[in-house]
Symmetry: C2
Subunit: 207 residues, 2 copies
């Protein structure tokens, strides 16, 4: 398996494959072909095969892929083969919803700490997590938490990012509607639901 540059788009699709494969596993599938998977998730079979072939040859000709094995392989590629703890900052409407969001478990994520700067919220327990004061963010250093989730208002996002980075975080999921500046080694993925909604009308039929 010689070195290859992996397309970002491939990495974007792998979590989708993982989700659907997990579904097939639960339904009792032992093997699955790229064509079956394809029908389920709306991606061409050859796209799936090429994506996977970037990392080696996982399938068996004439049979397809071993579902359980493929799940393990993809988890390894995405570095999801170990439980990953995350810390969330900003326990407002959105932050609380993210704290309670059930979808992270599938990928091995666990939100293990939550912070806010509002004294009314500190001490509250949401989904078994006690909200702490933001001044406690440095304590993440001793806790093996490398992922930060930012759900604070725009004005506070940069300072929050700085605090998280100083506490050893190297990956950030940013819900603030702005870019944040971080050292090169830190990866930021931004989610902005308004941005996605804003391009919907363009694609809608006019009247």
């Amino acid at each position: 398996m010689p070195y290859r540059k992996i397309p970002d788009e491939t990495i974007r699709r792998l979590p989708i494959y993982l989700r659907d494969l997990t579904g097939f596993l639960k339904q009792g599938y032992k093997n699955i072909s790229s064509k079956e998977l394809s029908g389920h998730l709306g991606v061409n079979p050859w796209q799936i095969r090429k994506d996977l072939s970037n990392f080696g040859a996982f399938g068996t000709c004439g049979v397809g892929y071993d579902v359980e094995k493929l799940i393990r392989q993809i988890k390894k590629i995405l570095k999801l083969d170990t439980i990953r703890k995350a810390a969330l900052v900003g326990v407002g409407n959105l932050g609380s919803a993210v704290l309670a969001y059930p979808g992270f478990a599938l990928y091995g994520f666990e939100i293990a700490a939550a912070f806010d700067n509002d004294s009314k919220k500190i001490g509250k327990v949401i989904n078994k997590i006690t909200v702490q004061d933001v001044s406690k963010i440095p304590s993440l250093k001793n806790k093996d938490i490398r992922i930060g989730i930012i759900t604070v208002p725009r004005q506070a996002s940069q300072i929050t990012a700085d605090a998280l980075v100083n506490a050893g975080v190297t990956g950030i999921l940013n819900f603030s509607p702005c870019r944040i500046k971080v050292p090169k080694k830190v990866k930021v993925i931004t989610i902005n639901i308004a941005l996605d909604l804003a391009r919907l009308p363009y694609y809608m039929p006019t009247r």
Copy 2:
């Protein structure tokens, strides 16, 4: 201005330009160059110019773009030049957060109706919107609401989509972690925060 196929990626970036331009307008900018905008949002100047040039020549050589005029142009391109009403289905944790989300106003969106199937939630008022029973979804027909936001659990997402489409919705923002089937004329944009979080570890430094 001859016809051109507009790249999807351009459409994805336009709402970002719009957001930042609005910021510059508030700061009192009258004109702005592609270079200034570029520094602010982390996209190359020539990318911005090419994106805009797809739709015509908006700028003035040596000066740049008239901020206010450019905002109007982009809104028109994205069909955001009129207030757009949306209906939300599924007033759980995530749905409530989306209902309260302040970021939609910038793009002229207003959530004008909310539905749930849980009798405990029906009648509740969140952000001035009274939650109605899902059986009332067909009433959207008379209300000029063409956008649906789906924040229900996975099992309910397809049936919700069907109900919305039957009520005249032609654009859907889907927060359910699955694909939904709709007629070709209906555009669906799916947001899945777990999917985005899942590709973060891949890009993070190992130890």
